[in-house]
């Protein structure tokens, strides 16, 4: 039963990644593209965690924690760069 649930969730997050890719390529403003990239990072974390459940290891949690931190910092850096033209003033 867990296997079917994980397959369903993997399909959901894969479709979500495709929708984010659509918004990333189409998005009219730069802020739309930054938002799409941030959401892609979140969906990637979910896929990593689901892969950890399937392969029955706890190795991927460190990877997803690092992924979350890098995603947050890169989003903040993008927004600061859009706003100020500089990241560290």
């Amino acid at each position: 039963m867990i296997t079917y649930a994980v397959h369903f969730a993997v399909a959901c997050f894969a479709i979500a990644l495709l929708l984010n890719l659509y918004r990333l390529s189409k998005g009219p403003s730069i802020a739309d593209r930054v938002l799409a990239l941030d959401t892609m990072v979140i969906n990637g974390i979910a896929l990593l965690v689901l892969y950890g459940i399937v392969s029955d290891t706890a190795v991927y949690f460190e990877a997803s924690l690092l992924f979350a931190m890098v995603g947050f910092i890169s989003t903040v850096a993008y927004c600061r760069f859009i706003l100020r033209g500089d990241i560290i003033e």
Binding site: C12, F13, A58, C79
Partner: protein, 137 residues
């Protein structure tokens, strides 16, 4: 016992997948950026949090050890989602050109934050902003 745990894990994972899909569908479907922010910041964060808690229950059920990494990731995502949403909304508002003219009045002597320069010191603030808890010593 085992069946109940499996049911709980499967329900958490399925709910997480549905919420993540709904959030990204909102990101692709909604008309402008201020409404597009709602999908990823609320629904996707909830979906990932539900998936992570399902994974935590799964590790507890299959290995018998309580792993707190997932709780850490969930907490981190829940803390950072509002901050990134605020940053994206601010950069969108500042790039849109005539935003400062369209904003409603604040009702105080000062304008909106980051559109009007902030007061330099506490004595510089108007009385309408200084609440009863602030001591001006």
């Amino acid at each position: 016992m085992g069946t109940i745990a499996e049911l709980l894990i499967a329900a958490l994972i399925v709910v997480g997948g549905i919420f993540g899909l709904v959030g990204s569908f909102g990101l692709a479907k909604l008309p402008d950026l201020m409404s597009r922010l709602h999908g990823p910041t609320k629904s996707s964060t909830l979906g990932v949090g539900s998936t992570l808690i399902g994974s935590m229950v799964y590790i507890l059920w299959s290995h018998g050890t309580l792993s707190l990494h997932e709780l850490l990731i969930t907490l981190f995502l829940f803390l950072t989602a509002p901050i990134t949403a605020n940053f994206i909304a601010k950069s969108f508002l500042h790039r849109r050109g005539d935003t400062a003219r369209k904003l409603p009045p604040t009702g105080t002597e000062y304008g909106w934050a980051s559109f009007v320069p902030p007061p330099n010191s506490i004595d510089d603030e108007p009385d309408s902003l200084a609440g009863p808890r602030r001591d001006k010593s």
